[in-house]
């Protein structure tokens, strides 16, 4: 069954770019949900059937790290895999994201091939 994806980024352009590259990567997916920050993302996760989350790190209100931390504490949604999509390349921040349960990371700007390589196995 096709997977539903949630894209979390404060830039709507970036969300469009990501959803476009998902399509270009030839990955099959169901619905695409969007959220502008961690708080919105939590609300979507609580109300919709989401299989995979792609999230930015640097966002206003609730950033990607806080989002992971908050999500880990909510039983109903804590097992949904999250991939970080970010400009941050520092091992520290990616390491922190992973220690909080992030399933992987994609560095901006990325190519459809890279998307396929990282997300393909899950789709």
């Amino acid at each position: 069954m096709a997977k539903n994806v949630l894209l979390v980024d404060d830039s709507s352009t970036m969300r469009k770019i990501i959803s476009r590259s998902l399509r270009q990567a030839g990955l099959e997916f169901g619905k695409i949900f969007e959220a502008g920050d961690g708080q919105e993302a939590l609300a979507v996760l609580e109300s919709e059937e989401v299989d995979i989350v792609l999230s930015d790190i640097n966002m206003p209100n609730m950033n990607g790290i806080e989002f992971l931390r908050e999500k880990a504490g909510r039983d109903a949604i804590k097992d949904i895999p999250v991939f970080m999509i970010s400009t941050e390349t520092g091992e520290d921040i990616i390491g922190e994201a992973k220690s909080l349960g992030a399933a992987g990371a994609l560095k901006k700007p990325f190519t459809p091939d890279k998307v396929n390589e990282v997300l393909g196995p899950l789709m």
Binding site: D10, S11, S12, T13, M14, K16, I17, R20, S21, Q24, D56, N58, P60, S86, T87, D92, G95, E96, K98, S99, G101, K108, P109, T111, P112
Partner: protein
Amino acid sequence: MVMDLREEQRLLRGFLKELFEMIREVEPFTLALAEDPERIEIEERVVKGCYRLFHSIKGTGGYFKLDQLVYLAEAYDYVLDMVRSSIIPLEPIQIKLLADGCRFIREHLSSIWEEQGDAALKTEARALSTAILQTVSSSGAQQAALQPPSQTATRLEVHCGLFEEIGELLELAEQEFVLWDYIALDHDRVTELCRVIDRLQRNFSLIESSDLERLTQVMGATLNRFLGGAFFQGEYPERSFIRAIDAIRTTMECSPGSGLTALKEMDSHLVALQGLIRQPIGEMLVQAGLVPTQTVEEALVRQRDPQQQPPRRLGEMLVEMGEVSKEEIEQLLENQHRQQLHRKELNQELAVQDGRPAAGKGEPFLTTDLRLDQESSQRLCSLVDQLMKMHQDQGSVPEPLLELNRLCAPLRNATMQNLIPRLKRFVHDRTVAAGKKIYFTVQGVRSELKSELVLALYQPLLELLANSIEHGLEEPEERAAAGKNSKGRLSLLFLLKGEELWVSVEDDGRGLDLDTISRLAGERKMVSQQQLGEMTSRERAALILEDGLSTVDDQRGQAGRGLGMARLAEQLEPLAATIDVLSRPDKGTRVTLRIPQAKFGV
């Protein structure tokens, strides 16, 4: 990325609109702050807004091939990131450049749209990048004028890379010096250490830090002389090196992005290092211009001649050869002696300045505070979290709290990898203090362990290591008498075992005194005699985890075994860890903490 043209145009338009919105939001504050840098109440807003703007450009600009904007954004992002991480304060010149940057982008949004690109912005974008980088880089304004703009990107990349590498090299060197007793015997390892110091020197030269370059050069030269067969004068030469490393770190922290800040107490460090190895008399004579190198070599050949009876010192030989006078030699030796004394005094002064007792056997000497009180730091983080949540619920978070929250980040981010050097230093320190010789190894470190777990483990590990050092492992003489290697072995091992993480601290010391433990437990009615009779040695060993059982009567050390172990059990409660104690008389003790998967979350 392949996009159809109309879609790409639509996306670009959306992106430029977003940038416009971000600038519209932050620019008035930036201008206000540029006009009056004292208005610190809006600084956070400016930094946050600008960071968001440039960070977005850095992340998204690449999709639209806006190379000039991305280039500019990388420089701004680099500087703002340091400000955000409190590495540097925000300077008025930077505020002005932030305002310039916002204006520059805002003014060119429409031209970017018209041209569908930003190639025309190259000159201005590069000039702004150079300017903002200059505020944190080591080169002065003059050099900026001379520097072709195309070099700035390389400069930025090179600088970032260099600083990262310097950090790694310093850590590597520090660890080797902490283990100096063991590596000093290993020629290859000291050679490798020389290479590390060499690379540090080269990097400092590249970032144009003359002080740090000179200091590392002297460190390298001293080590090289040691490799060449010279001996260190006095005990603990590694202390001078470790202090120099600490000083380098402090200097770099004071001037991030550059190495121009003068190193505090530079001369003292140089004298301390240079004084580690007594200069051979021949070298001193050559340096003083009293004899040519050739003559010294000639004298050395004569000195080694087996016919030479009785054996002479080099100085005596040269006097005999009529090359120098006895007085001249005495004068040189006198100078050297004075320098040694001077070095000692300086070391004492440095030690006092660092707020610790002067160097000497058994005194702690490391400048870095080793104790990370796990309870307080966790409590601190949790209080800050609570406050943040309270304020977030009310809709606004006050600036001081935001700052406090940022300052807590390192506590939250603690990882095993960066605690290991601390543990090694702790072991080294305690070993010296206890007058023992210990070979300490750490194996199987899992860097992906939860930071909460790392923090929770830190104090218990210190207790366990201290117990082994102070009570488990014997004095070198006692070990030798028992037919053991005079160096005790102490190891810390991390192991994933099915659903559990096993953390073991093991020593090959005297083992627990099970008879005394059983007797005390019986006397104190902790267990009945019948129970004792039925207990295995493992169960009896585990009695030391019970409250109120101390087998150390004189309580001389800092680690009272009974007390420490009871506290350990308490500290480990939140981790739901089981503690397994295995001890064999004269063979050693192993304490294994078994932590369930739910708590360590790899």
